[in-house]
């Protein structure tokens, strides 16, 4: 993910007031509203989404905060461009950082959209998963499901005999693709968890700072409580 490169560029810049040594994402008494870590936090959410088979909750507040800051930065860039050569050069750096944060935002939304497209019927059928979508994503999911159904209906299903016209069930068989929750993922443990159940009757000690390769399902709870993150 070239995170080292990214942090070296942004550590030069002062506008976001970043600390130069990037410490762990979640410390014990971290205040998540802390300004310096918004970018890191979004990055971690992005990584989580890329690595996991299922959708997480949409980080609405985080996204909004970042976009506000980006807007302020755009104003600053305009200002600096009117200044002397050094100011113009600085504006270039700020602009690069803006571009990179925008890339992060786009990446985040893109990976979520891809998952929505992949499992659209499964997502729409489950109220708890639906709740993890933003309002716009929900509309997108509905629209996407509609156009997919239109395609299948017009190209195929309409022309089939009656009993074969359904899209989600064929007899007793469920035809909707579902994410594989037992898929193996790499996860970094953020807190000492002790003995943890990683499979039916299988326990493992999970220690802070270590990275494990485990099936996704057992560690879901850890992820949602920020005691682990994917990598």
């Amino acid at each position: 993910l070239k995170s080292k490169e990214y942090s070296s560029v942004s550590s030069v810049l002062t506008i976001m007031d970043r600390r130069e040594d990037q410490t762990a994402l979640h410390e014990d008494d971290m205040d998540y509203v802390d300004e310096e870590d918004d970018i890191d936090e979004l990055k971690q959410h992005w990584v989580n989404e890329v690595c996991s088979p299922e959708l997480f909750v949409y980080q609405k507040l985080l996204v909004e905060r970042l976009r506000e800051k980006l807007e302020k930065q755009e104003d600053l860039i305009e200002e600096e461009r009117q200044g002397d050569a050094t100011a113009v050069w600085r504006a270039g750096l700020y602009e690069l950082e803006t571009d990179r944060v925008n890339y992060l935002l786009r990446g985040y939304h893109r990976v979520r959209l891809a998952k929505i497209e992949k499992y659209v019927m499964y997502i729409l059928k489950s109220p708890s998963i639906r709740a993890r979508l933003s309002e716009e994503e929900f509309q997108y999911a509905q629209g996407y499901c509609d156009i997919l159904e239109d395609l299948f209906q017009s190209a195929l299903l309409r022309h089939l005999p009656e009993p074969y016209r359904s899209l989600d069930k064929q007899g007793n068989v469920n035809m909707i693709p579902e994410p594989d929750l037992e898929k193996y993922v790499f996860c970094r443990v953020l807190k000492d968890v002790g003995e943890y159940e990683v499979g039916p009757d299988k326990y493992m000690p999970l220690e802070k700072g270590h990275i494990y390769l485990l099936p996704y399902n057992p560690i879901r709870r850890l992820l949602s409580e920020y005691e682990a993150e994917l990598c």
Binding site: N102, Y140, L151, S154
Partner: protein
């Protein structure tokens, strides 16, 4: 364990019936053409053939049910016949759906990489319903990106590393307007331009990014 479908093929072969399942060839055709070749033409003929197979199965089933349905529980042959035909129909349906969906996904990829306008060579290979799908997908994606205020199709490959890129013009493209003024993109000229301005053109093959090794 042998799948029901394989069993079906074996049974039919044993009875001397010619076993020809068109459905698989549709998927093979898709597999053979990689994404960079665009989409092969929609194989209307094979597609209809598979639908006809499903129809035939259905007719066999209804015939069997009306004539000998009451024997289904006692006579193994009747039960077998019913199941076999049903399984063939279901599998054909699945294959056709997979064919449609695979093509739809490639169309989506085209929208992400090349934008709202379909290149002619792809457009002529689409069925009517696929064309409608592309238009609807374009609208759906456009609406979403507008709602969230982000162009998601920018920066598809990597995080931006430079603000400016050196590019060579591969085809005459006319004049573009950049924040730093107008630029004339004549074939074989080299320019040093802002990445955001040139990235879509690089993707479309009009510009070439020159990297220093």
């Amino acid at each position: 364990p042998v799948s029901t479908f394989q069993r079906t093929k074996l049974l039919m072969a044993a009875r001397g019936e010619r076993v020809e399942f068109v459905a698989a060839t549709l998927l093979q055709e898709l597999e053979r053409t990689s994404k960079s070749d665009g989409l092969p033409p929609f194989n209307e003929e094979s597609f209809q053939q598979v639908i006809a197979e499903i129809d035939a199965c259905y007719r066999c089933i209804t015939k069997l049910l009306t004539e000998r349905g009451h024997e289904a529980k006692t006579d193994g042959a009747v039960a077998c016949g019913l199941t076999t035909h049903h399984e063939i129909a279901v599998r054909n349906k699945r294959v056709l759906l997979a064919y449609l969906r695979a093509r739809a996904m490639r169309l989506q990829q085209v929208r992400w990489e090349l934008g709202s306008v379909l290149p002619v060579d792809i457009r002529q290979n689409l069925a009517e319903s696929e064309l409608n799908y592309f238009v609807s997908y374009d609208k759906l994606l456009g609406r979403y990106m507008q709602q969230i205020g982000l162009d998601l199709t920018a920066d598809l490959q990597q995080p931006p590393k430079d603000l400016f890129l050196e590019v060579r013009v591969l085809e005459d493209f006319g004049t573009i307007v950049t924040p730093t003024g107008e630029v004339h993109l004549e074939k074989d000229t080299i320019h040093f331009l802002r990445r955001a301005d040139v990235e879509p053109l690089i993707r479309r093959g009009i510009l070439e990014h020159i990297t220093r090794s």
